[in-house]
Every structure is written in structure tokens, then in C-alpha cells.
């Protein structure tokens, strides 16, 4: 075991021995998480070139074929290649998961900063609304929202973003409460700069890092929720290649054609597992108490 002191001395010489790198290198689980995620992103990006099949076009002549060299993951009830659909599903899930969290974080940080900066009645109203949203179990609220808006991928994304917003509002608000007492913010106000420019230029850039960390931790969760809504028939609608809705249809054929729901399920599990491993690692690295 290398003494941490030596490690931090080495930092000055070489950026590759920076403490975060050092911790990361010695945290195998996190590294595995990064590798899986990287592989998943590459597969998602290359999906159209990796397989010769179309993810949506029907080919009834080849329905329910088991895994073979022609169709590594088999085919579904209308003869579409499951590998192709799973890879396109990776595109959709990763993209949508990231997008939902970015939307939630952007709205959350702005609302939180406004609420914290102005304080008073605005703050009271905003925080009580957030308390209301937090009073629901997340999945149930997302379900009710999507059901009301009408089942579709877009509406599922809106619903999940709304459900995720309160976390970011709270984070940004508590950062803002500290920042607004800082000299540079107060002097900006004295110089006559209006509140909104102060929030945009001085508060948000300084409150952004905890929000970004929280956001990375939540991407996996968002992906799982999208898949769950898809599974319940509330998210992406067929024939969109989405993991949750693929599993929801494949599920009916489980005992006869096991490959149909299993492969999209494995991909979903690997993706969210990789994101959770990374999240754990990030938490470990940022926690001053853990010295490994």
C-alpha cells in the first residue's frame, strides 16, 4: 500500500497521479463501471453500422428464431432482429436518460437559485411546492403524471423530469443561501446589477458543481424509470425500440422464447449497474472520511 502522502506529493509533478486518479485506479469496481458504460456508449453510437438489420421493419418469415449466427439475440414476434433493437434501445435509453436529467437539473438549479436569492414569500411558495412533489413516491407520481398527459415517450420524459426537479431545487437553494451573503454578490447588488443577471452570472456558476455531481448519480435512476414506464405501457410506444416496452411485449413469450425479453433486460441491467458503480465511486472519492 502506498502512503497517501507520497501520492499527494507526486501530484505536483504529474497530473496522472492526481489524488482522484489515484483513488480511481485503486477502485476496481468504479473502473469496471466506466468500462461497461464506455462499451455501452460505443455500441449505442455504432448501432446502425454494427448490424445489417432495420430495428423497425417487419419480416414475418423470420419470427421467433432462437439465437444463431445470423441473429445473435434471436428475433421477435414479427421477425425483427433483437440485437439490432437492443442496440438502438441503448441509443434511446442513454440519450433520453441524460436529456431528462439535464432538463431537470437546469430547471432545478434556476428555480432553486431564484428561490434562495429572493427568499421571503417566493421562497416559501417554491419550497412548499417542492415538499408536495416529494410527498409522493417517485414512481407513482411519474405514473400518474404520464397517465394524465397521455402515454408517450415525450410525456414520460416530462413526468420524470418533474419528479426529479425537487432534488436540484433543494441543492441549488442551499448553495445560494450561502452565496448570497458573499461579498462579491453583495457588491454586485450595490453596483446596481439586477437580481436576474446576478443569479445567472454570479450565483449559478458557483452553485453548479454539487448539482452536476447529483445529476451524474441520477442518470441511472432516470434510465430505470423510463424503462419501467415503458414496461407499464406508459412510455415509448411500439414499435419504438425501447428496452422497457420490448421487455413488456417479450414478457408474454417468456417461457417459450426466453431470449426475447432477456437480452434487452441484460443490457438495461448492465447500463444502470455501470452508472451505479460509477456513482458509488464518485461518492467514495468525494467523501473525505473514506481514505481508500
Amino acid at each position: 500500500m502506498i502512503n497517501p502522502q507520497i501520492a499527494s506529493e507526486a501530484t505536483k509533478k504529474n497530473i496522472k497521479t492526481h489524488p482522484i486518479w489515484f483513488k480511481l485506479k485503486h477502485n476496481k469496481m468504479t473502473l469496471i463501471g466506466f468500462l461497461i458504460l464506455f462499451a455501452m456508449i460505443v455500441l449505442a453510437l455504432l448501432a446502425p453500422v454494427l448490424t445489417p438489420y432495420d430495428p423497425i421493419k417487419i419480416n414475418v418469415a423470420e419470427k421467433f428464431q432462437g439465437p444463431s449466427f445470423r441473429h445473435l439475440f434471436g428475433t421477435d414476434e414479427v421477425g425483427r432482429d433483437i440485437l439490432t433493437r437492443t442496440l438502438f434501445g441503448a441509443r434511446l435509453s442513454l440519450g433520453v436518460g441524460l436529456l431528462v436529467i439535464i432538463i431537470a437539473a437546469c430547471f432545478g438549479i434556476f428555480i432553486g437559485a431564484v428561490s434562495g436569492y429572493f427568499g421571503g414569500i417566493i421562497d416559501q411558495i417554491v419550497m412548499r411546492i417542492m415538499d408536495m412533489l416529494l410527498a409522493f413516491p417517485t414512481l407513482i407520481l411519474a405514473m400518474a403524471l404520464t397517465a394524465s398527459l397521455g402515454p408517450s415517450l415525450h410525456n414520460a420524459m416530462i413526468a420524470i423530469a418533474i419528479v426529479e426537479i425537487p432534488i436540484y431545487v433543494r441543492l441549488a437553494r442551499s448553495e445560494t443561501l450561502v452565496l448570497r451573503e458573499k461579498l462579491f454578490v453583495k457588491s454586485a447588488a450595490v453596483f446596481g446589477i439586477r437580481p436576474i443577471p446576478i443569479i445567472l452570472k454570479h450565483i449559478i456558476p458557483n452553485a453548479v458543481s454539487p448539482v452536476i455531481i447529483q445529476a451524474t448519480l441520477n442518470v441511472g435512476n432516470a434510465i430505470l424509470m423510463i424503462a419501467t414506464l415503458g414496461f407499464l405501457g406508459l412510455g415509448a410506444q411500439p414499435p419504438t425500440p425501447e428496452w422497457g416496452s420490448m421487455i413488456s411485449i417479450g414478457w408474454k413469450y417468456l417461457l417459450d422464447y426466453w431470449w426475447y425479453p432477456t437480452f434487452p433486460g441484460i443490457f438495461l441491467f448492465l447500463t444502470s449497474g455501470a452508472l451505479n458503480l460509477i456513482g458509488d465511486g464518485v461518492r467514495d472519492i468525494l467523501d473525505p472520511k473514506s481514505n481508500r
Partner: protein, 334 residues
């Protein structure tokens, strides 16, 4: 203490109002007209108008909300479009099945989660720790509908050890209704056949439902055990010759459990939510399956009634967790 509880109860009333406001707004932004939906496709204009009046949909929105809250307070959650029953009766019918499943999953999660967490902390960075960490990372990463699928494929499809649908075998009469919990009822009435069948039926869904919460509890127990074990009083106790079981359970675990209580409490709320998916997969006749069927039918009174019911339950559980936490942690008493 009393002040804290009073404040929390005041907050609870506020939250219930808020939750009802949210569900009310949600059921009013739905596309389409509930009155014509309820009347069916071939109804005349007059019938639709009549239903609209009956439902109070011709009133101003504010009055509608007041009526809605009045109804909720007196237990009237509206009438289900699909079953034509009052939603509250439907929920009352399906609730015991959900509660039985959630409690079974809860017991599994606690009974396995706490020992796993302790072992993981004591054997930090050894084989069992790594194994239990992989196990718990999988638990939070695997969606319930996929773990359920794998469980059915293996334990029902290949091994045929457990049945995979319903609460009890179709050929067996349910036990005499006392508590509506099949396991307790069959025990009370001494109906061993029903007991065996209902136990067999509950094992797979309860295990699948408990997995995520089991993982979260294991993680929490591991983290707080590690923290407690590095404290001075544990070292002193060790120096005084206390070791093994007594040190771990009587000295360390007691303090490690305080932060765990919060996690355990919230996990029960999460189990009620997770039940929606689990019940769909295992065809378990509970509230979750009821609401998923209602979603397919766009039965909004039922969906919103369920959401309101679960959320109120969730808030109540959180209140109880806070109070327990308060009692367990004497430092919080001023």
C-alpha cells in the same frame, strides 16, 4: 418531542392538501371528456350532459376542487369508470393483498439485509464484502420487472419449484376471511392446505420485490457499522476483552441501527410503490395490478384515487419513521 410531533402533524395536513391538489389538477388536464368517456361511445348528448351534471363537471373549477376535497376527507375517492364501484371500495378490496406482499418483502429485506451488512463491514475488503457489494449494486440496478422475469424463468419455468401467478392455487379455496391476509387467515383457521399454497405463492414475488430494498439496507448497515466500529468506545470495549458476538451486536449494532431506521422506514414506502410492477408480473391481485389495469383503461378516478391513497400512506410512514428516529436517538431530545 411533543412539539416536534405536533409540527409534523400540521405539516402532514398541509401535505395531504397539496397531494390532493396535485391529483385534482392531474385529473383535470387529461385529454378528452370524462363524462363522454363514462357514458360510452353510443350515448346520446343528453346522457352525457346528465352524467356531467352528476359528476359536478358543469360547476366552476374551484367549487369542483372544494367538492373533491370534501369527498376525499369523507373517504369518497370517486367512482371507477372500469369497475363502476366506488374507488375506495376497490382499493379496500385490493389493499390487503398488497400489504401482505409488502410486509413479506419487508421482513425478508430486514432479516437478510442487516446480517449481510454486518458481515460486509466486519470482513471489509475481503471476499464476503465484495460478494455482498456486488449483490447490493445489482439490487439497486436491476429493474423489478427484469428480476421478476428471471425468477419466473428459473424457479417456475425450469425448476418448477414455485407457482408464478396469483395469491393461492386456483383449485384451493381461500381461507376463511378474518384479516384478509391469506397466510394469517389460514393459520388462524388451521387450514394447512391453504397455508402451504399461499406461502408457495408469496415467496417469489416477495423475494423479487424485496431485492432492491434489501440492497439499500445492506449498504446502509455496512456504512454505519464501519463508522461505528472505528470509534473509540469500540476500541475501549475490545481492550476490556469484549469481543465477537457481544461486541458486534450489543455494542456496535445498537448505534449503527439508528441511521438505518430511516432507510428501513422509507424502504417500506418504496415497497408499496414497487408493488405496482411486481403485482403486474406475478398477477398478484393487489392495488398495483388494479391501477395498471386502470391505466390501460384510462380510468382516472381509479388512478388518482390510488395515487392519493399511496401518497397519504407514504407520508404517514415517513412521520412514523421520524418519530421512531427521535425516540431511538436520545441526543435529539433537548
Amino acid at each position: 418531542m411533543m412539539k416536534m410531533v405536533m409540527r409534523r402533524i400540521a405539516f402532514l395536513v398541509f401535505v395531504i392538501f397539496g397531494v390532493s391538489l396535485v391529483t385534482f389538477v392531474l385529473s383535470h388536464i387529461i385529454p378528452g371528456d370524462p363524462a363522454s368517456m363514462m357514458a360510452g361511445q353510443h350515448a346520446s348528448k343528453q346522457t352525457v350532459e346528465h352524467i356531467r351534471q352528476q359528476l359536478g363537471l358543469d360547476q366552476p373549477i374551484l367549487i369542483q376542487y372544494v367538492e373533491y376535497v370534501k369527498g376525499v376527507l369523507s373517504g369518497d375517492f370517486g367512482t371507477s369508470i372500469r369497475t363502476q364501484n366506488p374507488v375506495i371500495d376497490d382499493l379496500a378490496n385490493y389493499f390487503p393483498a398488497t400489504l401482505e406482499l409488502a410486509i413479506a418483502a419487508f421482513i425478508i429485506a430486514i432479516l437478510l439485509g442487516i446480517p449481510l451488512g454486518i458481515v460486509s463491514a466486519v470482513k471489509k475488503n475481503q471476499f464476503w464484502d465484495h460478494a455482498s457489494r456486488i449483490f447490493s449494486i445489482s439490487g439497486v440496478s436491476i429493474p423489478v420487472f427484469f428480476s421478476g422475469l428471471v425468477a419466473i424463468l428459473i424457479f417456475y419455468g425450469y425448476l418448477n419449484w414455485f407457482p408464478a401467478n396469483g395469491r393461492i392455487d386456483m383449485t384451493i379455496n381461500p381461507p376463511t376471511r378474518i384479516t384478509s391476509f391469506y397466510i394469517i387467515d389460514s393459520l388462524l383457521s388451521g387450514d394447512m392446505i391453504a397455508l402451504k399454497s399461499s406461502l408457495q405463492h408469496i415467496i417469489l414475488p416477495a423475494l423479487v420485490l424485496s431485492y432492491a430494498q434489501l440492497a439499500i439496507i445492506t449498504r446502509q448497515v455496512r456504512a454505519s457499522m464501519l463508522e461505528v466500529l472505528s470509534q473509540e468506545y469500540i476500541r475501549t470495549a475490545k481492550a476490556n476483552g469484549i469481543h465477537g458476538y457481544k461486541l458486534l451486536i450489543r455494542y456496535a449494532l445498537r448505534n449503527a441501527l439508528v441511521p438505518t431506521v430511516t432507510v428501513i422506514g422509507t424502504s417500506f414506502g418504496a415497497l408499496l410503490g414497487g408493488a405496482v410492477v411486481t403485482e403486474t408480473i406475478f398477477d398478484w391481485p393487489g392495488m398495483g395490478k388494479y391501477v395498471v389495469d386502470s391505466i390501460a383503461y384510462l380510468d382516472f378516478p381509479a388512478i388518482m384515487g390510488f395515487t392519493l391513497f399511496i401518497s397519504i400512506g407514504y407520508v404517514l410512514i415517513n412521520l412514523m419513521v421520524d418519530i421512531t428516529y427521535f425516540i431511538l436517538n436520545p441526543q435529539l431530545k433537548e
